[in-house]
Symmetry: C2
Subunit: 371 residues, 2 copies
């Protein structure tokens, strides 16, 4: 993984694209093509769902729920090979892709055990790698929704405040710009403020999955994060893939029991998503892992996020946190791959980073110099 085929998002992943000379609208992947859903609806070949596909974001479609999503996928299946749809197919590699959904809130978790333990070893050497709460709840925080961008968007090296070698604060371009290889779970169906979403109903709220690069300026983050967590070290940009892949099209796999057993509101038969993942830096694969490494499932993330009555909104984005496996070349961030700069440096201006996920496609970006 990924073969050239594996780079493609799974069939009937959804996105937003602009056909030549036309307004942005919803599209769906089919092989090497994008199906124009707005045009198919206008031609009477699929149900237009009250104009959901003519919006410049997927949110109206996402809000309709699992039955509408499945019916649309079934209708597209029924159209396979139908010549009436040919006029509404575009070359996947030729279309201009846009941010597929308007982000409501962005919450980012920390759900990979190897990643959390690696960071613990790097940042708190000599202590227990995992903090006491880590196996008890899906630790997370809120990120900045307004700076989530689509694959292909350049990332400007952020400036910020960090602690210089002399121990004094300084301001300038980050010298420790990093990536984080993550999945993002995209909420379609909202929940009411005050209600909890039970873990066994949580997946009904998820429209699909994206690949996510949670860019991180480690020097800014190290100086700012006590006691309220990451802020400017993360908020300059978060990149997501252009296609949102239905959860149903990804393979699930059983996992061993969680020890200690989670409290009842988080309890479910342990499972993961079997999604092969890779990180490429300037064309060289520098890491490969799998989403099944995640300790906490997206259902547990949603059950936890809403345990206090917080509502879900259409467009909420839940990052998994960096995904790392046990091996040295299975780490999803440069701070882990280079062990905090000891064996590999951070990103340079001009670098191109590509994250790939089987069935999810890619997240690609170039690093531009600081302004």
């Amino acid at each position: 993984m990924p073969s050239s085929r594996g780079i493609r998002p799974a069939d009937h992943s959804f996105g937003v694209f602009s056909p030549p000379g036309a307004a942005p609208r919803a599209g769906a992947v089919e092989g090497d093509a994008v199906l124009d859903l707005a045009a198919l609806a206008a031609a009477g070949l699929i149900d237009g769902l009250d104009g959901a596909f003519t919006a410049p974001v997927l949110n109206p479609f996402m809000a309709l729920g699992p039955a509408a999503w499945a019916a649309t996928r079934d209708a597209l299946d029924a159209l396979r090979g139908d010549p009436r749809a040919d006029a509404h197919r575009h070359d996947l590699d030729g279309v201009a892709l846009r941010m597929p959904f308007a982000v409501a809130d962005f919450a980012d978790f920390y759900a990979s055990e190897h990643h959390a333990a690696n960071l613990g070893r790097i940042l708190r050497p000599g202590d227990e790698p995992l903090l006491p709460n880590w196996r008890r709840l899906p630790v997370g925080y809120h990120g900045r929704a307004g700076t989530v961008v689509v694959s292909g968007t350049d990332v400007v090296r952020p400036c910020g405040q960090y602690l210089g070698e002399d121990g004094e604060p300084a301001f300038g371009p980050s010298r420790r710009l990093d990536i984080e290889l993550e999945l993002g779970f995209v909420v379609g169906v909202p929940s009411a403020h005050g209600d909890r979403v039970p873990v066994e109903r949580a997946l009904e709220h998820i429209f699909g999955v994206v690949l996510l690069n949670d860019w991180s300026a480690r020097d800014l983050q190290a100086w700012e994060y006590r006691p309220l967590g990451p802020f400017l070290g993360k908020s300059f940009a978060t990149s997501v893939s252009a296609w949102v892949t239905p959860l149903e099209t990804l393979r699930r796999t059983a996992r061993g029991p969680q020890e200690p057993a989670p409290l009842p509101y988080l309890a479910e038969a342990p499972w993961g998503l079997d999604v092969a993942l890779a990180v490429e830096l300037n064309g060289e694969r520098i890491a490969a892992t799998n989403a099944r490494e995640l300790y906490w499932s997206p259902a547990q993330m949603i059950a936890h996020l809403t345990a206090n009555g917080a509502s879900l909104r259409t467009g909420d984005l839940l990052g998994s946190g960096t995904i790392s496996g046990p091996g040295e070349d299975e780490r999803g961030s440069l701070i882990e791959l280079g062990w905090n700069g000891a064996t590999r440096s951070f990103l340079a201006d001009g670098d191109e980073v590509v994250l790939r996920g089987a069935g999810l496609g890619e997240v690609r970006a170039h690093i531009l110099p600081a302004r």
Copy 2:
């Protein structure tokens, strides 16, 4: 403060209300009345700004910028005593008020020195009360935008995971439900992703000020917050006043120099907002302080927030963090007023909390039992 007059928001504070039988629209305070801006525009008495006042949120008006805001206030001034406006005045106490703006991102700071030092003394006894970064940058984090509610909305006691007396995690209703007395700064004019907003231009982006109650479940927060900061201990609800008061109508006051001097990107002549503030619990005033206690200004918050190129969006909400003065009855949270439960308990079901601010009005809520 506050006299009954002081409870009123300042003239030409803006909000959204629903006249009887009519759709929600923008309104402005004038004495004890609300002026219906949509109706005034329809009658040709003020510029309707392309329908900005007929929206159910202030965001279209907020996006127009300082010149449009000032022109509207000037037009309302010119209408004072004009009988043609009489039909479009409603009793301030009689109208149904709504959430005045759609929140884009919610960032919450920690900008009151006495509050940060009190928390340091309570949570890290024996250590320096302020962490090394506190005087160097406005520490902050992102909160949940989707659970910001307007004054008058009941707050359901959150459930969540906390560490029980036996040292084991437990799930249940929070036993340490708290308030936080804050100002909120509401962004009107957006900024481009990748650009920094200089501190001397930052106030041009602020549409106005709200009172803000950053409800906090201290038991959830204490267990979850390492290493990524507050999450479910805050995300269940944040209440704001129904009226957004223009920054220009609030009195500014000079402050002494910041020591050590901030880095150049944060440097300005120190100032604060002279806004008398009070906390009432079940009708009893339990604390009073003033917004001039804030160490970091809203201009510094914006300069910092955008220092890494993060964009501002119309509707961004910047909380000041809890505002506390030096005295024992000048503390803006129960954890400080009761010194972590030693001399005063946390909120009980049925409690009514009212925050008041001179020129800002109030934020009022009842605590409902956990579901």
